[in-house]
Symmetry: C2
Subunit: 360 residues, 2 copies
């Protein structure tokens, strides 16, 4: 079979060497006689896997001991409630940026727990830009400021970190975490569903400043209390052990690639090549403003939408999978996370040029 490149927005392609290793040790992890899936989470084998994964993530991202690193369940959607339930403390209001579909979902859930001040919104542009800084209305008494550094659906990415003074900054990094170096110390809390740049679906990584947790709203389930997870080393109950193990393999692979500096360069090259092909063409368009285009999720449209189905069928025949855009945006979307090889982007660009030449 020819090479297959999977541009799914998530769950998404995983690094091939990680999958090969997972396959090779699926029946027997390092002579233990057990699959990782079969291990007690409290046994020394899994405890060592879990600790190594946390250590590697801390090393990759430069996470200091001021932060808890938690391996949880429930995805970003659980975090949409967990963040206000834990970080509101004695406040009744939080600031949110609204830069796309995921921002909106976070806002919707937060409204069930507090007053949401939408400090800035790009909804009137159909989420194709980031609101100019001079329009932001941050409230210094807010419990926290929440934003979505990369919008998976709209393809809008912050290339910089908002300055929020003393107010803790909270980020949904599901589709951008580990794609480049990050000043973690500028954040109060970072969360990410694993299924884009970390590992398989069903694992959620939370990085939270230790001084921010320990107080929850009345009625918060124990499983939604960061402090309880931290006190139990993310083993308040049985964690998603296999996902945690795979995340650890991904972290090791990232270190082998040269860490996040190296990944940033590769990701810049990949995105640069794809956007250059789009911009050089009259046939393809990207709706997002140039200065805030995502390096992870690249939406683009064809000049003639009636060719969309042919484009997708031809792409699939060429081994280029899952390019259909989100139904709310239409057109195409190429998600090019860490695990997408440069050859995959090259193959996509070649296909796009050939499609334009013959059908455009």
């Amino acid at each position: 079979m020819a090479d297959i490149y999977n541009f799914s927005a998530g769950p998404a392609v995983l690094p091939h060497p990680v999958l090969v290793r997972a396959r090779d040790e699926l029946l027997d992890w390092q002579g233990s006689g057990m699959s990782v899936m079969e291990m007690s989470h409290r046994g020394k084998e899994f405890v060592s896997i879990a600790a190594q994964a946390e250590a590697d993530l801390r090393e990759l991202m430069g996470i200091s001991s001021d932060y808890h690193v938690l391996f949880l369940q429930g995805g970003a959607t659980s975090q949409f409630a967990m963040v206000p339930m834990n970080l509101l403390r004695d406040r009744q209001q939080a600031d949110y940026f609204n830069t796309g579909a995921w921002s909106k979902k976070a806002i919707g859930e937060a409204k069930r727990y507090c007053t949401v001040n939408v400090a800035a919104s790009s909804e009137s542009t159909k989420f194709t830009t980031i609101p100019p800084r001079d329009t932001w209305k941050l409230d210094p008494s807010a419990a926290y400021v929440h934003y979505t550094p990369n919008e998976t659906i709209g393809g809008v990415e912050f290339d910089w970190i908002p300055v929020t003074g003393e107010v803790p900054l909270v980020a949904d990094m599901s589709s951008t975490i580990l794609s480049r170096p990050l000043e973690v110390s500028r954040f109060g809390l970072i969360y990410a569903g694993a299924q884009k740049n970390i590992g398989p679906a069903g694992l959620t990584v939370v990085i939270v400043r230790k001084d921010l947790v320990g107080e929850t709203l009345a009625g918060t389930p124990s499983m939604f209390d960061y402090q309880q997870h931290a006190d139990n080393g993310s083993m308040l109950n049985t964690p998603p052990t296999y996902g945690w193990y795979l995340a650890g393999l991904v972290f090791q692979w990232l270190k082998e690639q040269g860490g996040l500096e190296a990944m940033a360069l590769i990701n810049q090259r990949k995105a640069g090549k794809l956007y250059a092909a789009i911009d050089a063409s009259e046939f393809y368009q990207c709706p997002v403003d140039v200065e805030c285009r995502s390096r992870m999720n690249v939406p683009f449209t064809l000049a003639d939408a009636s060719l969309d189905a042919d484009f997708l069928a031809g792409a699939k025949a060429a081994g280029l999978l899952s390019l259909k855009g989100h139904r709310s945006v239409g057109g195409m979307r190429a998600s090019i996370y860490n695990a997408m090889p440069e050859a995959g982007v090259a193959a996509l660009v070649d296909f796009m040029k050939e499609f334009e030449r013959t059908r455009g």
Copy 2:
């Protein structure tokens, strides 16, 4: 390497043919060019996997269309809060049976949402029995009755279903689901963490009568609302896709074994053989009353606890893993879920006899 038998209480042994198949298709699921872990949960490949798993579970357990079958995250510990948050509705009180460590945890979490009436407790016996029916104090105005049909730690199992009249019966079946046929229609809600008899950790199955859901307590996170999950086919957000797939493989394996009637016979033979060996010996004891001994989790002690470490070391050398009892009970515990072959129990019994002969 000689055969290894893993008696872990959970995460636990999985059927060998399931793991072999998972390994064989880990890199490429049925010619799709993708690992199941890499598939969009909304793509036709994964949607077919998910639907087949639900259909097979409904067939195995005889679940009627009066019930939702949900594939969630968060384990039984999340259910401890979700059950009251969804089932209390306009009531303020629920009945709970207290028959062991997991019952107690469920009660502790429920108390955060309602008045808990402990209708019966065996705590005074150190959880070695089920309270006699004539001592139960069920309240007909309770929102529901909650019990734990099999206590994983104490090794106490109900061999029958409590009668609760019009009050919906809720069961934490984490360590007994799929071990034998069940009259699902007698339950309002059944939940089970996957990591014992269903699949890998990080997946939770909920079977709930449709008329019981749709109303939640104020402040319930969206992810804790059964109705929202049901409305979205368990894809309110990205589900734990790989665990769902593996659960489906386990369901297919169970069907190949002859379904739950066949499993019940095998499980009866396995447990019968192990308890017979314990009871025939002066050296081994099981603290649990004969009529409520678990067929899934068999705790036993050695006459001389100073030999515990030697027993565990010898067992490990013989390929018999994870036999150490829970710290709250001490001694040994052999968890013999569906995936534990009869040969594993035979090997354990042989080892126990030899250990008693040489060291007892």
